[in-house]
Amino acid sequence: MQRGLLVLALVIGVGVGTAVVSKHIFQEPPTAWLCREYGLNQQQVDQLKEPEKEYAYRCGHLCGEMCKANSDLETLALGSDSITPEVRAAVVVTDRIRTETRLEMLDHFYSIAATLPPERRHDYLVKVLPLVIEPCSSPMR
């Protein structure tokens, strides 16, 4: 019976281990979902690469700015016990960067939608717009 238990534990362990490893092996780049979901051909996939690159660069820059602005706001807010002009200005800066980021996102989504079949563009926008409209919520919906 002990040997049977050992074999059972081994079988379960091998099954779970295989699932974890194969999940990593089968993982594809994020754009693979776009290709599958919207039936893009190789030419359309290649068209996506350039906007993706530009978007990553622009958003990376804005992310850096946002981190710095948030950090400044945190320092000012913690060092004060009321809304001083400096705190107010720091809040305005974070909002400005957030607005710019949202516009960048929207611009990117329009450019991606333009590469999709016309009848599927609306569906794509419905899926990604919550990121722009409710940027603080989780995208896992």
């Binding site: 019976m1 040997r3 049977g4 238990l5 074999v7 059972l8 081994l10 079988v11 379960i12 091998v14 099954g15 779970v16 281990g17 295989t18 699932a19 974890v20 490893v21 194969s22 999940k23 990593h24 092996i25 089968f26 993982q27 594809e28 994020p30 754009t31 693979a32 979902w33 776009l34 599958r36 979901e37 978007y55 958003c59 804005l62 992310c63 946002m66 981190c67 948030n70 950090s71 706001l73 945190e74 980021t101 960048e104 996102m105 990117h108 989504f109 899926k127 990604v128 990121l131 940027p135 603080c136 995208p139 896992m140």
Partner: protein, 107 residues
């Protein structure tokens, strides 16, 4: 009959069990019997079944077959999980707020 048997017979004839039973003795015996019969036959059956399966699983051929099946199921589950997460991964990849929220303490 040996002398030892005779001695035992005499001893038993003279033995007078004078112990008095508890008033609830019969009731307690029945309660214990009922408890044993009611609670364990299902558990015993399950344990016996489990034991039988484990004995079968301990055979090398079946152990090999079970491991092979586990590998196939693992590949299937892993592949399906990877595929089902693609949409979420895409949405995360285009969401700068998600990247930003992992880099800063002020959220």
């Amino acid at each position: 009959m040996s002398s030892a048997d005779n001695e035992l017979s005499k001893l038993l004839e003279n033995w007078d069990p004078n112990a008095e039973l508890d008033v609830n003795f019969n009731r307690q015996v029945w309660i214990r019997l009922e408890g044993r019969v009611g609670s364990s036959w299902e558990v015993d059956a399950l344990l016996a079944l489990l034991e039988r399966w484990l004995r079968v699983l301990a055979r090398p051929r079946l152990a090999f077959a079970a491991t092979t099946i586990a590998i196939f199921i693992g590949i299937l589950v892993g592949g399906l999980q990877a595929r089902s997460m693609q949409k979420e991964q895409y949405l995360l990849s285009v969401n700068p707020y998600w990247v930003n929220s992992t880099q800063t303490n002020l959220r």
